[in-house]
């Protein structure tokens, strides 16, 4: 099997008759190189357009050079400071110089925002102080006073007494670290304590860990719901005669192929307050016109729409496993005296377990990263961790935190895939 793809063109036939024409290593290497060469373009493409972004994501989660780059002299001067009391004069000079310059270039606001994310309250200290510092610098220049460290120490403490204490300096020093675990700490609901160390946030202030838990619970719930609804369907398709099975399979595949936006729209149309289901229930008198059910823009909406979207991902692998179970097994169980329920529980169910495992895991992994559906039908209470990630990318612009949250999610998903790989094999993911 090794050397069969050695190519022999008509011109080659003369050499073919002399078996020593090619060294053995070339014969072994040629097909390998050719096979690898075919795969190489896509490998390179995936490395650049996909692995690159993943590296970029992980880097962003612990590498934040922006503050250090914006205030290089301040950071260099702060390195000489022992962290106790007010820092030496040259720190004041460096900081004031950079604040005034950045303020004039209108870049200080961005830096102040970044520092504020590390230690809240710092934005007003920096922005309020720097406005007066610009004025002081102008006045000093007009009066011909040299603006040395002692001058700035006096001026800054005069503007805001807090500059005489170590707190804002510690904040600046911490914020100026290029490599930091603070995004991960924040993503796990730790906050910076007054001394600079990190402590867990008070329970009512925790945001992300409860959201991770909610995402986990919703994903598990959706997966279970999909299993309960999907198992009988998969069984029905697998045990139907071929023609009917094909029709039923199409009914599962149509939602699979229909745009996610379309499916989400239809749930809004069906479930909203003035929607089809509520109208119908009112028309047949089950509920009054003032008792319309709130089925969307909450957790119920997220659950229903996500189950609908993910159901085919569970049914298809389950169906392919069930199709391979010979019907004779159930007949044999029945003829040996098992009741249908016993036969189902003791004979059929165990054989479908590989499909159940594969389908559930795939559904769960997809559910855990779902963004569009919860964002559209989840309202306030139906948001998941992915919505928070999108919020930090698009609205709060806290990219480091978004990266850390995404990296934590990626870690969880990767762990699940390792399980999936052990159970099923990663290269056996089908398309249904």
């Amino acid at each position: 099997m090794r050397s069969e793809s050695e190519v022999v063109t008509p011109e080659d036939t003369s050499t073919r008759q002399q078996p020593v024409a090619r060294p053995r290593w070339r014969r072994a290497l040629g097909p390998r190189l050719r096979a690898a060469g075919l795969a190489l373009p896509l490998v390179a493409f995936v490395v650049v357009t996909f692995a690159g972004p993943m590296v970029s994501l992980l880097t962003k989660s612990f590498h934040e050079p922006e503050i250090a780059d914006a205030l290089p002299e301040t950071m260099a001067a702060l390195r000489q400071w022992d962290g106790e009391g007010a820092p030496p004069d040259d720190v004041f000079a460096a900081t004031a110089g950079e604040f005034v310059a950045a303020r004039n270039e209108r870049t200080l606001g961005r830096t102040a925002n970044r520092v504020n994310r590390v230690v809240s309250g710092m934005r007003s200290v920096i922005m309020g102080g720097s406005r007066l510092m610009v004025e002081a610098a102008a006045e000093a220049e007009a009066a011909g006073v040299t603006t040395d460290g002692a001058f700035w120490r006096e001026t800054m403490i005069g503007i805001d007494a807090r500059w005489g204490t170590p707190e804002p300096w510690r904040a600046l020093r911490d914020a100026g670290q290029r490599f930091t675990a603070r995004h991960y700490l924040k993503a796990l609901d730790f906050e910076r304590g007054p001394e600079g160390g990190y402590v867990r946030q008070a329970e009512e202030w925790r945001i992300y860990v409860p959201l991770f838990w909610r995402t986990l619970k919703v994903s598990l719930g959706v997966t279970m719901l999909c299993l309960v609804v999907g198992y009988p369907i998969a069984h029905l398709i697998a045990t139907s005669p071929p023609r009917r099975a094909n029709v039923l399979l199409l009914l599962v595949l149509l939602p699979f192929w229909t745009s996610l936006l379309v499916r989400t729209t239809s749930w809004i149309v069906l479930l909203q307050n003035q929607g089809v289901v509520n109208d119908f229930l009112v028309a047949i008198g089950v509920i009054g016109d003032d008792g319309r059910l709130a089925m969307i823009y909450n957790m119920t909406g997220t659950f229903i729409a996500m189950t609908h979207v993910l159901l085919p991902f569970l049914v298809l692998p389950l169906y392919s496993v069930m199709r391979s179970i010979p019907p004779a097994y159930m007949s044999a169980a029945a003829s040996l005296g098992a009741t249908p329920l016993q036969a189902l529980r003791r004979v059929y169910w165990p054989q479908t377990l590989p499909g159940v495992g594969a389908g559930c895991l795939l559904t769960f992994i997809l559910a855990i990263g779902y963004y569009i559906t919860p964002a559209l039908v989840g309202g306030q209470s139906g948001q998941l961790i992915s919505n928070m990630i999108a919020y930090h990318v698009q609205t709060s612009l806290n990219w480091g935190l978004a990266a850390a949250l995404a990296a934590l999610l990626l870690g969880g998903v990767t762990a699940l895939y390792v399980v999936y790989d052990r159970l099923v094999g990663i290269d056996r993911i089908g398309l249904g």
Binding site: M1, S5, E6, V8, R32, A35, A39, P41, L42, V43, F45, T49, F50, V55, L57, P232, I233, L236, N246, L250, L253, L254, P255, F256, W257, T258, S259, L260, L261, V262, T264, T265, S266, W267, I268, V269, L270, Q274, V276, L311, S331, P340, L341, I365, G369, Y371, I372, L376, S386, I389, A390, Q394, A406, L409, L410, V413, I426, D427, I429, L431
Partner: protein
Amino acid sequence: MAGTAISPGYRAARWGYLAFCVAAFIFLIAPILVLVPLSFNAEPYFTFTEGMLRFDPDAWSLRWYRSIFDGDEWTRPLLNSLVIGISATVIATVLGAAAALGLAHPAMPGRRIVSALLISPMITPVIIAGVGMFFFYSSLGLAQTHLGIILAHAVFGAPFVVITVSATLAGFDWTVMRAAANLGANPLVAFRRVQLPLILPGVISGSLFAFAASFDELVIVLFMGGLEQRTLPRQMWSGIREEISPTLLAVATFLILFALLALSTVEWLRRRGEAAGEGAGSGRT
């Protein structure tokens, strides 16, 4: 389950099971189909009006279909989606098919790790990939460009092609290629005459999957696309969040038709492949 003594309890359970399955199929299909008649509503409502239920011809209209083509609110996104989708599909198909041929070759080194790498974009939650791509492509100046989105969609689409083409090659007898070579065919001719006809259904299915994935992709477009890159899903997203207009339902109906078309093509190709490979052990995984 033939031959079981039919007890009343069993019969009730059987009926319960069938009723449950019917309900489940209704749950799967009805939400999609309900949009179609509603898109012909003459009123700007999202529910059946009394007139519609009486089949009053005045209660039904094509006005929302006409409004798709009023102005460029929907036609531009459609054009963007087509340009991005087709470009991404071409890249994904060419690279994916070549990679599948390489992976299927018995001499391929490191097959497991390479296929895991190639499949990874498909199985990573899009939100994670989207954040990474947003950072990475922004740093390269590719955010808010068509090219950036095309590259992102191509890398998401390629695994579909790899999988479908690999499936068509599953039982391929590589000695046929040697036979072709011995008969004087150069590798290109051997590929065109022997392998291409075999993998073609997989290539078409895979490219349809890749196109559908791009045509329906929203997260990347939300993160990376600007006003110039508004695609159909992006426009629907605004439509749902901001001002929901029944034109949305008309567009949705077109997308359902597209889904039906794509699905029928893929199923037709699959069945043809199964019929051809009967006994060769090929089939869906």
